[in-house]
């Protein structure tokens, strides 16, 4: 059957078709639709596949490790920066190895369409000594999931699958496989010590890991995902990874005198096939949508071998995502002339929805903070980050999820009193709670505003873990009841809210203000 699916949806459907038993994720663009597909899939419901959002990426990976420990197939999905949060679990499950197949899907965001950085997850796979698949199109992504589960179970290693925004968010017709794998029964690991990473055992496991990694590298000589196409024009060869291969073919598929092309989508990449293209061609250009991962290792430190072109010598821009025109320029193909954007066109940055609760919170906060001057409000990641833009200009930082509270603690430690943190409800349960505990223990003179719209709005309104429980959580963490205030951010309460904020900001200890009003988008959806 052919069905039009986003690459993210194709990955989810493939996991269902390959007999996955558990899907774990925390939302994050461009990965969110993987779990969303699972949640809305009737097939997944019928097969009783576990599929619920986790509090953060670390808890998601760990739950997936548990599912795999019990002998069942598991998948976990996140955006690239989510893997930083999950890195401890991720690095160590490489050492324990897996029992049931385990795939970690990570969607990178080159050019930072919706992210703080453009880190390339292939380095994480290399770092952990595990295999990495980087599909170039939707069908390949679908097919790879089956291979990744098999590979994971063959070598007892987790497999990282790297997507990029342009692939994750592009639709194509997908041909499903009919071979329906059955979900497996519980089978505990053969070796009862496998998952016990006491140093003596971890040292043993680490040797097994390194051995397996080299075996995968050897196998990858024959991987169908690494392919070589010979060409007549042999002066210059091209190595293209993942979606870069599409941009290459877009430019040269119609040309008669094509060059030799090596497509790499399965890592670690074996020396042999790389040598193949170097033995044919005088020069090689490397095209990668991400960091110069392969290019750097081909050049080596001395960079005195064959002529290599890529991001590191400026043939391809050093950062940002690729596209057909950038690749054309790198190949020296003159592309079509095009008309520039007319000067009347103005930028249109994202902004708060009309009637958003964050707006009323910021208007009140700005007024309450006026007497202290700028530079004291540490914010976090979510829709409320838009409070950085005019006319609000309310915040001074957005670094990583949870950093608002902890940065406010550090700034207060430095003497910046008062320091204020602004954090969303989902971000608070993702990684704000531990920071608040620090503040309570240290009696930091900070004010934490939880802007609670009772959803994970930025990524499209997924369930927020602690909706209805935030007050109890804060009190449980030790916030004094008299300094745990709840306000309703509405224009009619503006004066009252400013008053409450002023009082709590002036308090020389930890105070929490929960500014609670439902996300306008969620409310609209409910009315429909």
């Amino acid at each position: 059957m052919n069905k039009l699916l986003l690459c993210n949806e194709a990955v989810a459907q493939a996991a269902i078709d390959a007999g996955v038993s558990g899907m774990y994720a925390y939302p994050g663009t461009p990965s969110t639709e993987i779990m969303e597909y699972f949640i809305s899939s009737e097939e997944a419901a019928k097969k009783n596949i576990h599929r619920q959002w986790s509090s953060n990426e670390k808890t998601a990976v760990e739950a997936a490790i548990g599912m795999s420990y019990a002998g069942k197939r598991a998948m976990v999905a996140m955006k690239h920066v989510g893997l930083n949060v999950a890195a401890d679990a991720f690095m160590n499950v490489a050492v324990t190895g897996v029992n049931g197949g385990l795939i970690v899907v990570v969607a990178d965001d080159p050019s930072m369409h919706s992210s703080q950085n453009e880190q390339d997850s292939r380095f994480y796979a290399r770092f952990a000594n595990i295999p990495c698949y980087e599909p170039s199109n939707q069908q390949e992504a679908y097919d790879m999931v089956f291979d990744a589960f098999r590979l994971s179970e063959k070598y007892r290693l987790p497999v990282l699958m790297r997507l990029v925004t342009r692939l994750a968010h592009s639709r194509a017709p997908i041909k499903f496989k009919t071979d329906k794998n059955h979900q497996k029964n519980i089978t505990l690991p053969d070796d009862p010590m496998q998952y016990i990473l006491l140093p003596a055992n971890a040292r043993k496991r680490n040797k097994i890991l390194i051995e397996n990694y080299e075996m995968v590298r050897f196998d990858n000589r024959l991987s169908k995902f690494n392919s070589f196409e010979d060409g007549k024009e042999r002066r210059m060869g091209v190595i293209a990874t993942g979606v870069a291969y599409n941009y290459l073919k877009e430019n040269i598929s119609s040309s008669e005198n094509s060059c030799p092309i090596l497509k790499i989508s399965a890592y670690p990449f074996p020396k042999d096939i790389v040598l193949g293209i170097f033995s044919r061609c005088e020069e090689v250009i490397v095209l990668e949508d991400g960091y110069p991962f392969l290019e750097e290792s081909l050049r080596g430190l001395l960079d005195n071998g064959r002529k290599i072109y890529g991001r590191m010598d400026g043939t391809v821009p050093r950062d940002g995502e690729l596209n057909p025109n950038i690749v054309a320029r790198a190949l020296g193909i003159s592309s079509n002339n095009y008309t520039p954007v007319p000067s009347v066109v103005k930028p249109r940055p994202p902004q708060f929805c009309k009637g958003c609760s964050h707006i009323d919170m910021y208007l009140a906060l700005n007024e309450a903070m006026r007497q202290y001057g700028n530079g004291r409000v540490f914010a976090d990641i979510g829709c409320y980050t838009l409070g950085a833009l005019p006319p609000y200009k309310s915040i001074s930082s957005t670094v990583d999820m949870g950093a608002s509270i902890t940065m406010a603690i550090g700034a207060a430690d430095a003497g910046l009193v008062p320091s204020v943190a602004v954090i969303g409800d989902s971000t608070f349960t993702h990684s704000g709670m531990t920071g608040l505990l620090d503040a309570v223990i240290k009696k930091s003179p900070i004010t934490v505003i939880i802007s609670d719209n009772s959803t994970t709005a930025m990524t499209g309104g997924q369930k927020s873990q602690a909706t209805g429980m935030l007050d109890k959580i804060c009190l449980g963490l030790g916030v004094e009841p008299e300094h745990m205030r709840v306000i309703a951010p509405l224009p009619k309460h503006h004066e009252e809210n400013v008053g409450i904020l002023r009082e709590e900001i002036a308090y020389n200890g930890v105070s929490v203000i929960i500014s609670r009003r439902e996300c306008i988008q969620t409310a609209k959806r409910k009315r429909r």
Binding site: S170, R171, M458
Partner: protein, 198 residues
């Protein structure tokens, strides 16, 4: 046979809907396609676009190369201009005339219209007026799709109508019929514009 289409507008204006409708129609017509979408931050009132590539041959890139787009379909006039670098020499721009002014310093609409009129092949249609006249204010995007339908060529109007029925089928018969009406009104007006130009 291929058509490279850019659909543009502001987050929340229903770009993904019309992209999906054309995509569904192309699938049903047995064509290959790739449909690149914007999800995430920009959907909060920022500029959004889809690249829709339809062909009977292999499609490699998910993104349309600059200078190769056959049709820009825009639900907002300034957003149509944002993608001019992608438009091919003989390409068409079909756009709504009604601005969506959610930024300060939005340029005078007359400046935007005069830029649009510099493009050789353009259709500018007041989709807001049409949508409210047929009593379906949320169907402006489908009006624009109707206006673009004579230029899509690879997919017929009847297959687009089928796709609209399928896409809105869960929303009830009334919504389906209103959108079919919106589609046909857009189509009728755009055909009248072509006739008057000839």
């Amino acid at each position: 046979m291929k058509k490279d289409i850019i659909l543009s507008g502001v987050g929340g204006q229903g770009i993904l809907t019309i992209t999906s409708v054309i995509g569904l129609a192309a699938m049903k017509s047995g064509l290959r396609l790739k449909q690149s979408e914007v999800h995430g931050m920009s959907q909060r009132g920022g500029d959004v676009q889809s690249h829709l590539r339809i062909s009977d041959g292999t499609i490699f890139s998910d993104l349309i190369p600059m200078g190769e787009c056959d049709i820009i379909i825009s639900v907002e006039p300034m957003e149509a201009l944002r993608y001019i670098p992608w438009l091919s020499k003989n390409g068409w721009v079909i756009t709504n005339a009604v601005p969506f002014e959610n930024i300060s310093g939005y340029p005078p609409i007359s400046d935007i219209i005069s830029e649009l009129e510099k493009i050789d092949n353009h259709i500018i249609i007041d989709a807001g007026e049409v949508a409210s006249r047929i009593n379906s204010p949320l169907s402006g995007n489908i009006v624009v799709l109707g206006a673009a339908s004579p230029y899509l060529e690879v997919v017929s109007s009847s297959s687009l109508e089928d796709a609209i029925r399928l896409f809105f089928s869960t929303k009830g018969e009334d919504i389906v019929e209103k959108n079919i009406l919106a589609f046909n009104e857009g189509k009728r007006i755009s055909e009248a514009i072509i006739r008057s130009k000839k």
